[in-house]
Amino acid sequence: MSTTLRQRQTVLTRTVLYGMAILFLAPLVVAVITSIKSPVEITRVLALPTEFYWQNYAAAISRMGRSFLNSIAITVPAVAFSILVGALAGYPLAYMRGSSGKVVYFLLLTGMLVPFQIVQIPLFFLVQRMGLHDTIPGMWMVHTAYAVPFCTFFMRNFFASVPRSMYEAALIDGCGPFLYFWKLLLPASASGLAALAIIQSRAIWNDLLFAITLTASDKARPVTVQIAGFASSLQVEYGPLMAATVISVVPVMAAYLLFQKSFVRGLLGGAGK
């Protein structure tokens, strides 16, 4: 290939790459800039703010109430529980021989095609009867339960990529299947667990559907429901809304940036199998 053609190709791919990067960043940048603009400056969308209008953040925080804390209180334990349950199911399904394991695996996977709308109404009454409506433990339970198909799928594939010889050697050495899981398999799967933790944090922190159905007050309502409430009012004040949006985005984004190495590695082990 001639050098000029290769150069032209490089220019083309560079242009596509930078163009896409601008497209991907622009909405986030505009959101951050809007969140520090005063109401007068907000309509000039391309202008930079002349002052840091912190009142937007004050308004956002007072409107969000304790929903931010609720989101943390819901997400952290629910992520841990859902990964644990996924690992519990994934372990035997990765090692069991014979057809019974395959039937169970298939059944659990069919959960992925169930749209959450079909469970919504019975779920509302079920959670209410358990006395867990509008409570944080209720949200833990629901998020853990609905994560079963995906977390099982993910952990099962990850465990299957751990060499089987390790399992057989451990059993021969007299290490029981339970000890093997706890002492050897889980520590060996740290990167997969981390990747799933990131995926689950995002899914649970970002959830709107279960939260609007199953929470009713400040006691348990997470930040997504709160933002949806004031984003859809007729006269939207974009300054405080963008401030609240920026606040709601930070935790998962930070988690991803912190763990991105193990995330990519875990994704390869789990999803790439």
């Binding site: 990067a21 991907f24 909405p27 000039r44 059944l107 339960a145 159905t213 790439g272």
Partner: protein, 302 residues
């Protein structure tokens, strides 16, 4: 050991069953029971409060089949599936392929393309309502600036435009996932295969389509499967951005169900919509699930 394990059911098997107990219990209580209960509810007329439900047979299903709002939502859902399978996946593959060629600042680009995927749907809705604001939004402002102001629309207020506007926002939101899975997959392609093809005189274009892409199959299947599942479940972004409006033009089955159940208290009719949704999802996604659970056997046979 005191008890000699029988040949058919060893201690290991019992441990395995013990591990499966909690996940299957959760599955039974939160998937199987509510689905059966919903199918029963869909044959009734009920407002959610009355002590008894009135049995109406298949009437909910029959009347929905002639309801233009329902049919519009079905059509939108099908279009969303097609869109999600093609656009974010294609764009993600393109970006991954470009970045895989070793470009300076690869790490920064990788973060930029993935960032939108980490944010909540309600934040996507809030940000894009501001992008699409008809007078001062970024899109209209930029179009005016480059002299294309005539192309500006009432992005979220025009029934003919709103679905494309939502798709733009969703492409921005979800492309990062496809990108990262493909990128991780490309990193797994053995360098020797690519080198061999290069030495044989293949162009980069040929190397990609003939060597890398076929080896990317595990990534492709994950991306397409997850896209189809997300498209059938699509709710949050649409609800938080438009509530299915204007004039029901951006309704999908999930927003329709929610509105019927919790807005109009027509629980029977709402669950009938959800049953239709599950039936459509089953047709589209079941082959994928069968394929995924079969693949298990293949990988164990290796």
């Amino acid at each position: 050991m005191a008890i000699q394990p029988t040949r058919r059911f060893s201690r290991t098997d019992w441990t395995h069953l013990g591990f499966l107990a909690l996940p299957t219990l959760l599955f039974a209580v939160f998937y199987i029971y509510p689905v059966i209960s919903s199918i029963r509810l869909s044959l009734h007329s009920w407002d959610g409060f009355a002590p008894t439900m009135r049995y109406v047979g298949f009437q909910n299903y029959l009347s929905l089949a002639q309801d233009t709002r329902f049919l519009g939502a079905v059509r939108n859902n099908v279009i969303w599936v097609a869109f999600m399978l093609v656009v974010p996946s294609g764009l993600g593959l393109l970006l991954a392929a470009i970045l895989d060629r070793g470009i300076r600042g690869e790490r920064a680009f990788r973060i930029i393309f993935f960032l939108p995927f980490t944010i909540p749907a309600v934040a996507v809705a809030a940000i894009w309502r501001w992008m699409y604001e008809p007078d001062n939004g970024l899109l209209t402002t930029v179009l005016d600036l480059v002299g294309l102001g005539g192309l500006a629309q009432n992005w979220l207020g025009d029934p003919g435009v709103v679905n494309y506007a939502l798709m733009g926002a969703v492409a921005w939101w979800t492309t990062g996932f496809a990108f990262l899975v493909f990128f991780a997959g490309l990193r797994n392609v053995p360098v020797e295969c690519i080198e061999a093809a290069r030495i044989e005189g293949a162009t980069p274009w040929q190397v990609f389509w003939k060597v890398s892409f076929p080896l990317l199959w595990p990534s492709t299947i994950i991306v397409l499967g997850m896209s189809a599942i997300d498209a059938m479940r699509l709710f949050d972004v649409v609800w938080a951005t438009t509530r299915g409006g204007p004039a029901y033009s951006s309704d999908v089955l999930a927003t329709l169900t929610y509105d019927l159940a919790f807005g109009r208290l027509e629980m029977g009719r709402a669950t009938a919509v959800a049953v239709y949704l599950m039936a459509i999802a089953a047709v589209i996604i079941m082959p994928y699930i069968i394929y995924m659970s079969r693949r298990v056997q293949d990988s164990e046979a290796e």
